[in-house]
């Protein structure tokens, strides 16, 4: 894969970032070098290796239903300051 301007513009949008033209050029160079290097991953055979093999034991706690707190006692936690301008409050 060759990283071109279209891919960079797409990644910029996905990352929710504004990237300057100079940064884009640097990024394109770095990404192309990286992709070339990371392409080593393509050439390795790893048959019979599962995606989640590394999890040998459950790391999660048991799924036990618990009573939830009533909304009113949690009321104060839902008050947040305005974020956009000064007009929108939740």
């Amino acid at each position: 894969m060759k990283i071109d301007d279209d891919i960079i513009n797409n990644l910029e949008k996905m990352s929710k970032l504004e990237i300057s033209q100079q940064e884009k050029e640097d990024l394109k160079k770095d990404l192309n070098e990286a992709i070339e290097y990371f392409d080593k991953l393509k050439n390795i055979s790893f048959e019979n290796i599962g995606l989640l093999d590394e999890i040998s034991e459950s790391i999660f706690r048991e799924d036990i239903p618990m009573e939830c707190k009533d909304k009113e006692s949690l009321g104060k936690y839902f008050s947040v300051p305005a974020v956009l301008g000064s007009g929108i409050k939740s």
Binding site: M1, I3, I7, I8, N10, L11, E12, M14, S15, K16, L17, E18, I19, E23, D26, L27, D30, L31, E33, A34, Y37, F38, K40, L41, K42, I44, F46, I49, G50, L51, D53, E54, I59, F60, R61, V83, L84, G85, S86
Partner: protein
Amino acid sequence: MTDNKKLLDEFFEKKDDCKSFITTCKKEAYEQAEYIEKEKKCGKSFVLDGVLAGIKDNIFTENIKTTCASKMLKDFTAPYDAEAVKRLKENGAVIVGKVNMDEFAMGGSGETSYFGAAKNPWNKKKIAGGSSSGSASAVAGGLVDITLGSDTGGSVRQPASMCGVTGFKPSYGRVSRYGLVPYASSYDQIGIIAKTADEIKKVYKCICGYDPKDSTSSKESEKEKAFKPETLKIGIEKNILEYADSEIRQAILKAIDFFEAFGAKCEYFEFPYIDILIPVYFVIAFSEASSNLSRFDGIRYGFCDKEIKNADELFTKNRTLGFGKEVKKRIVMGNLFLSFGENETYYQKAVKLKRVILNEYKKAFQKYDIIISPTYLDKTPDLGKGKSNKNFIDKFKNELCTVSANISGFPAISVPCGFMSDGMPIGMHIMSDKFTDEFLLDTASYFQNKTNFHISKEVKPSGI
């Protein structure tokens, strides 16, 4: 009896001319010291009495800023203590402040910090290493006894090596990550830096252990393994040693001679997947970083440009202004590896290969008790010249020494083992099997008790 107040008076008189700290917390430190004195008068004793500690600025501390060395979080104060910090305090350590680091722990030189790079106390023109740059320079400069750092690919061990101190990354799951701002969650581990492995062991025993608040915290106990130099079996990573600068290679070979002289059996071996360690490490790290850092949009945390009226623009503007260049680059790369069409090619393959690498190291630890290599392959770079002129691959060459412990989850430590001709310290990297952390620390301690690399040259940063 330790007088914590006196220790604090001394600490706050010192000048931090290596930029080791981002924030100091005088009020909280004296309050903690007062509390300890009061408890001691009631008969309580503390394992870490008299220990002054610095905390890497990506680990939560209640009422003290946690900036991650980023503009994004420059005014963020954590609402609670990280579990490791809580345990440190319960055992009598006094937190004196938050130490410098690479922004969001992304970097290997300390130079991506929004607050400016920490300097190396051995030579202030040199980098302190990274990403736990301030953690290492604060201990090396004699400001504090111990520091907590975070280690995602060598971020505790590499700066420890450059600053001539001891840096330890425990087994994944042994120290709770609750309250550690995540970079790459499957690699991140809180580590400890101190002058000696003995001091680290004391701290480690206070902060390790299961924590239900961290879903990756392990309930498994330490494997019982006694350290005996005469029966020690050492594997030496031949291919990594060959990449090292000749002075570093010589220092490691001398350390190997040291162990052999006490009866250890040493054997060179070649790790078959050496070429894919870095690609596997970075594909997973960058992918996890892009996901973890998506939470920073200026709404829930940190930097927010209040003038913007539109939500989409708000997210983009805040992230663009809040993140530094290196962080942005890693987010973009992570998004590429996770994006439709590339996910299978890169991310999923890397996750599978992580397993292959782990299995290979497990095999190696059936033969060897410890694996030795250098911690860093080159001379300690000058500030400003760390990585800027290198291409992508050269930038990450040095991570080869340390990433295997993060990919496999094994414990690893860097101990001083010599000096370069320019006077800078050299670190030896020792890794052992999972959950043999105390055995590893005993091994490092044995080496340090018989050598004097960690104390042979007094570090005297001017003004300290």
